[in-house]
């Protein structure tokens, strides 16, 4: 098989395998796999609204995918995108509530900046611990997720609480902050915030291709010791990677806060941060790949959202199972060799 075809074919086969396995598991409950698949596709692409929702779910996934990829390029595993995103969303809402007088278009720009800053701060902490203390970034970022959830909960319930709401959510941001959804997608909250994801994707591609810092960051990920021998400040690159990763993840809450609900709602994320891991791996850390993978997982998320209604037993939890199986089959490099029976 020629190289380029193989590189394209392998992820497709891996995704197909993961989905097939997942549908098999789902079928254990008594629904037929075919019915589930049809429900999935219909719910993800059945109408302009459905497709709009798929895009709405994809936009944050591009960002969390880029965030995880940024860490991976430096050889670090950022499982903290979920918490970084949560705090970014909270910060955007806080600015929108705290500074109602800012005019459009400065207002949304300010909110975006605040989100980036909050996420970057949350990413910089594990980055610093990794660079200076050699602490295990996987465990630290996971712990940071739990702490972020606590912090967000506190601010939502005690500081920015919506006065008459029964839900755990802040009050609304000022109107000047809102980015209005495109009419084409009916009621789906797809807005220019989607473009933000694409701009950031292009920006990271340029960062790696054109800047010395991007080159150094990748060198650290490719061979930390060689990078150190070559005089590269390894710790600084690691700190930079996780700070950027945090900032990018911080932006992932923007579509929700500025376009969908106009506020911070606890539990708004169906796990975008963790899904970003799948997106980054499937997209092979390249901007275009990440965008494509984000679309796939956005479709999965939308497709599974109403499975309870469309099937007898299957629930939306199938989404997470499908993601996990796709990651497993994509990451199992040895599968092809193993299938060819070259076992040693």
């Amino acid at each position: 098989m020629s190289g380029i075809l193989k590189r394209l074919l392998q992820p497709f086969l891996a995704v197909a395998l993961g989905l097939a396995l997942g549908l098999g598991i789902a079928a254990l409950g008594g629904d037929s796999a075919w019915v589930i698949l049809k429900a999935l596709l219909n719910s993800a692409f059945g109408s302009r609204y459905d497709f709009g929702m798929t895009l709405f779910y994809s936009a944050p996934l591009v960002l969390t995918g880029l965030s995880v990829a940024m860490g991976l390029e430096a050889g670090l595993f950022n499982i903290g995108a979920e918490g970084q995103m949560g705090l970014g969303a909270l910060a955007a809402a806080a600015v929108g509530i705290g500074f109602p007088g800012v005019p459009w278009p400065l207002a949304p720009a300010l909110a975006v900046f605040a989100a980036f800053l909050a996420g970057a701060t949350w990413g910089a902490i594990p980055g610093w611990l990794r660079a200076k203390r050699g602490s295990h970034e996987v465990i630290i970022t996971i712990m940071m997720n739990f702490i972020a959830a606590g912090v967000a909960s506190y601010f939502t319930l005690y500081v920015f609480k919506a006065p008459h709401s029964q839900n755990s959510e802040t009050s609304s941001v000022a109107a000047a902050y809102l980015i209005h959804p495109f009419a084409f997608f009916m009621d789906a909250p797809v807005s220019a915030a989607l473009l933000l994801s694409l701009v950031i994707a292009g920006g990271t591609a340029l960062f790696f291709r054109r800047t010395v810092a991007g080159y150094e960051l990748r060198a650290v990920g490719a061979n930390e010791m060689a990078a150190r021998f070559a005089g590269i400040d390894v710790g600084r690159s690691q700190l930079l990677a996780l700070t950027f990763a945090g900032g990018i993840a911080g932006l992932a809450g923007i579509p929700e806060v500025l376009s969908a609900s106009g506020r911070f709602r606890m539990g708004f994320s169906p796990g975008y941060g963790f899904m970003g891991i799948a997106v980054a791996l499937l997209g092979r850390r390249r901007a275009m790949g990440i965008i494509a993978a984000a679309l796939l997982f956005g479709a999965l998320q939308k497709g599974t959202a109403y499975l309870e209604l469309d099937t007898q037993h299957v629930t939306r939890d199938l989404s997470q199972i499908l993601q996990a199986l796709v990651i497993l089959s994509v990451s199992a490099d040895g599968l092809w060799r193993w299938l060819k029976n070259d076992r040693l």
């Binding site: 254990l28 602490s135 996987v138 996971i142 702490i147 606590g150 939890d317 199972i321 490099d333």
Partner: protein, 289 residues
């Protein structure tokens, strides 16, 4: 604090440390054989679910624990298959296993009990009262003796330190690692069991809440040795117990301390402990390869 309160805190420390202890031992077996085990969290979670389900059906905590261990081992089998013969990146595959567990437990809950949020509540007779604590202590001792004095224990140690040496000596490294990961899954499953049928009286969604990762942190802090790792589990358990006790407490001026600040205490302590721990030298040399 009065004497009886201190005693009570000690007791609850021992109790809440138990799930961590089993999971840390599971991580220890796996990592000693050279396989990173980020998947502990997910292995615990399916263990907790299976234990609560089995205990609900049979009415016996012992059958529940057996079910939990088998479920942990089964999921560990999936993990072992992807990382040993298929050579998936261990951190990536471990993360996927955690996601799989988080998705499959509510789905199975829906299939079996028509609820995605948990399993039915267990009567006292279907729960453990103190047995997991003693079993945990015994397993630490057994584990220590096993790696030190038996041939399979020797193989596990070499598999993590110099797998080529083991291979050259004619022992199949892959087989040793398979067994180690399966044992690890069973132990993590037991950890999950002690969460759902010992500390609590049912399974609830995402109930492990990062304990698998704390167990891993305890293992690192304990320099990949069973007794120090067990002590680290006690340390984390203490802050967890303290957190439970402190809830509802007030500042001096009568305002309640926000519960969120108290709840994050164990996570913050884990970060501080890892940040204070310096040096990678004690990790098994072939870990992750």
């Amino acid at each position: 604090m009065t004497g009886s309160e201190i005693l009570e805190l000690g007791g609850s420390t021992a109790r809440v440390s138990t799930p961590l202890l089993f999971a840390a031992l599971g991580g220890w077996v796996s990592e000693r054989s050279g396989v990173i085990n980020i998947a502990l969290e997910g292995l615990m979670l399916v263990g907790a679910f299976a234990a609560a389900s089995c205990a609900h059906v049979t009415g016996s905590p012992w059958m529940g624990a057996l079910g939990g261990m088998m479920a942990g081992a089964a999921l560990a089998g999936v993990y072992a298959f992807t990382v040993i013969p298929l050579r998936a990146n261990q951190v990536v595959a471990g993360t996927a296993i955690n996601m799989l567990a988080a998705g499959i437990t509510p789905l199975l809950g829906a299939y079996l009990f028509d609820s995605t949020s948990g399993t039915p509540s267990l009567p006292a007779s279907a729960r453990f009262h103190s047995a997991p604590i003693w079993i945990g202590v015994a397993v630490v001792g057994l584990g220590w003796v096993w790696t030190r004095y038996t041939r399979t224990g020797l193989w596990v140690r070499f598999a993590g330190e110099n797998p080529e040496a083991l291979d050259a000596a004619g022992v199949r490294v892959a087989r040793v690692r398979w067994v180690a990961v399966l044992v690890s899954g069973a132990l993590a499953g037991m950890g999950g069991s002690s969460l759902s049928i010992f500390l609590a009286s049912s399974f609830s969604r995402d109930m492990t809440a990062g304990r698998g990762f704390m167990a891993l942190a305890a293992l690192i802090f304990g320099k990949w040795k069973p007794v120090p790792a067990a002590l680290a589990c006690l340390l984390f358990g203490f802050f967890d117990a303290l957190q439970i006790r402190l809830q509802g407490l007030s500042f001096g001026n009568g305002l309640p301390i926000p519960v969120q600040f108290i709840q994050v205490l164990p996570y913050a302590v884990t970060i501080l402990v890892l940040a204070g721990f310096v040096g990678k030298s004690s990790a098994p040399k072939a870990l992750g390869m």
